[in-house]
């Protein structure tokens, strides 16, 4: 019996509430990281030519002379106004840069996850239905190799093969050929914006640039999904209700898809949370390899020039993104599984 609607809404509300302390914890940690700057932040922001007095002035200006709880309160206020500070390398507000670059990262991550799910789920199902055959061994090999491959290394290998040797892929430099201007910004996803603008050539170029980075990131995320699908399917295929369904003479397809896979979906969706954590981290490395203009390469550039406001803004943004993704996963979970009552 599915839960009645009001109860379900309450479950969703409860889950949203649960995210609050997590977000608070994230903000506390990010704040502590900001204050743990090597040396004195005031000296750092004052620049190399500063004397004692200007350093003291900057310290007062930044509020660094006040006690930590007061500073934290101000930090919260800044965050509430969407102020993540100003990047010292570009002079732009950090939040502005992050928002401009975020769609590029999201497009890459989502494309990679789509690829990973489309390959990993069928592979996991095949391996579970044919244990100890070549499919199973292949699955096991891919799973182990997939988690062992450093993403940045896979990316460079793919660049060497498909760009240098075969010449199929465009050079690993950004999202478009230099020939094209980026399509008019609607969603920030080039593949969608190009369709809206009706520019076929731009779409082709964007897609061609997306393939290798998405493949690189996808290969990395594929392993945990395939592993979980296989394990969940194996467990469910061995359970009593499957035996009953078989005895009742249902078709193989019906048993696999409608009975087993629907149930296996839940643990698989739960692992997606962990997969996102890895994918968002690996994203940084992939963006660096392909000079992808997302928030990951922004953070790497900021790290090189010690632009701390930018790095901390990036860490906070990534953490909030991750919390949001997990929230979406959990809510999907409530919608898929009629048994789940998150309030319990």
């Amino acid at each position: 019996m599915p839960l009645p609607l009001p109860q379900r809404l309450r479950a969703i509300g409860y889950r949203l509430l649960q995210a609050v302390p997590v977000i608070f914890g994230i903000i506390v940690i990010t704040f502590l990281l900001t204050r743990a700057l090597p040396g004195d932040p005031a000296v750092y922001f004052a620049g190399p030519a500063a004397d004692e007095r200007s350093i003291a002035e900057i310290r007062a200006q930044l509020g660094l002379d006040r006690p930590l709880p007061v500073q934290f309160w101000h930090y919260l206020g800044d965050l509430a106004r969407g102020d993540l500070g100003t990047s010292i390398s570009t002079g732009q507000p950090v939040i502005h840069e992050l928002m401009t670059r975020l769609p590029a990262s999201l497009e890459l991550t989502l494309a990679a996850l789509l690829f990973a799910v489309l390959v990993a789920v069928p592979l996991g199902i095949l391996a579970a239905t044919r244990p100890d055959t070549w499919v199973d061994h292949l699955c096991r090999f891919i799973v182990t190799a997939g988690v062992s491959l450093p993403t940045f290394f896979t990316g460079l290998l793919l660049v060497y093969i498909f760009y240098f040797l075969l010449g199929w892929a465009p050079p690993p430099m950004g999202r478009l050929d230099i020939l094209y201007l980026s399509p008019e910004r609607v969603t920030g996803f080039y593949l969608i914006d190009a369709v809206i603008a009706g520019e076929y050539a731009v779409w082709r170029s964007a897609a061609a640039h997306l393939v290798l980075p998405a493949l690189t990131l996808g290969l990395f995320t594929l392993a945990p999904i395939a592993r979980m699908t296989r394990a969940a399917m194996l467990q469910i295929l061995a359970s009593d209700f499957i035996r009953t369904a078989r005895a009742a003479g249902l078709t193989r397809r019906k048993i696999l898809i409608a009975y087993a896979f629907r149930n296996a979906l839940l643990p698989v969706i739960t692992t997606l949370g962990m997969v996102f954590s890895f994918a968002l981290g690996a994203n940084v490395l992939v963006e660096k390899v392909f000079a992808w203009p997302g928030i990951g390469s922004y953070a790497v550039e900021a790290l090189v020039v010690s632009d701390y406001a930018a790095v901390q803004g990036f860490v906070l943004a990534m953490a909030l993104l991750f919390v949001m993704l997990n929230l979406v996963i959990d809510l999907t979970y409530t919608l898929i599984d009629p048994r789940v009552r998150l309030g319990d």
Partner: protein
């Protein structure tokens, strides 16, 4: 009588049985030995000084003189890859041991005492896990300073929750077990029961985690140095070598990237296989 004679050797036999039934595990143990030996003796055996530049012979493809070719400064890639083993192993071993010790301590306290200790520790761990872990490591290194020690600490922090949660679960299910009550009745203090009775029983699954974690720690540290954190050139380290080689891959000098990358992959692969093998050894039911 022959059962008695064979009994002391059960674990050894089981070990041999696991090795023979799964040759992959045997290979993993062999590779592991190879990596450790390379880490220990590598710097003594390499044909060239890993830091010696030789501009006349820059960017040469692999040959008899230079098995893995030379890099853009004419340094021998083979020597650099071999010498790097020690540093990469050291970073990951240090990070994993640190998170093992701290994580076990936190997990044991949470699992044994429950209540407030459990709630606070659980909350802290949840908060760490709420970050994408590699990103958190980047943030920690950026804030604390760009040194190898901080790479180790950051890697340890992001691995810590895995140990703490595992130890907590293992300790929690045993805290009122029969042998624990017996130990208490015979007058042992809490911490003594925890250290000598409960914790050793929780070790086997943690050893598996340790091995799986090593691979991940190596990947993580190499990833950090790939984006320019921690290890600095010209120190030979796999991640930074791949990063240096990345500039040359678009013009076809593949050997700069391939060999350190393969070494890294082999190391991670070995630890993952080893972890799976150890799991078969301690817990045959959890095979996946």
């Amino acid at each position: 009588m022959d059962t008695l004679a064979s009994r002391p050797n059960t674990l050894g036999r089981h070990f041999l049985y696991v090795l023979s039934s799964n040759p992959v595990t045997a290979i993993a143990f062999a590779l592991f030995a190879l990596i450790v030996l390379t880490g220990v003796f590598g710097p003594l055996l390499v044909p060239y000084d890993p830091l010696a530049t030789h501009s006349a012979r820059a960017l040469e493809p692999p040959s008899w003189d230079h098995w893995f070719g030379t890099d853009h400064l004419g340094r021998d890639v083979f020597s650099r890859v071999v010498v790097a083993t020690r540093l990469d192993l050291l970073i990951s071993v240090a990070a994993v041991s640190l998170s093992f010790v701290l994580g076990s301590l936190m997990g044991a306290l949470a699992g044994f005492f429950g209540g407030w200790a459990d709630r606070i520790i659980g909350r802290v761990l949840d908060t760490v896990m709420a970050f994408p872990l590699f990103v958190l490591a980047m943030g920690i290194v950026a804030a604390a300073g760009n040194t190898i020690e901080n790479i180790i600490i950051a890697t340890a922090i992001i691995n810590l929750p895995f140990y703490a949660r595992m130890v907590r679960a293992e300790v929690n299910i045993r805290r009122n077990a029969g042998f624990v009550q017996a130990a208490r009745l015979s007058g042992n203090l809490d911490w003594r029961v925890l250290a000598t009775q409960i914790f050793p029983n929780a070790l086997p699954p943690i050893m598996v985690q340790l091995s799986l974690n090593m691979g991940w720690a190596i990947l993580n540290a190499a990833g950090l140095s790939f984006i320019g954190l921690g290890v600095r050139p010209p120190t030979p380290e796999w991640g930074i070598m791949v990063a240096e080689g990345a500039n040359f891959i678009v013009s076809g000098e593949w050997w700069l990237t391939l060999f350190p990358g393969l070494a890294l992959m082999l190391a991670v692969f070995t630890f993952n296989l080893l972890g799976d093998g150890l799991r078969d050894l301690v817990d045959p039911q959890r095979r996946t």
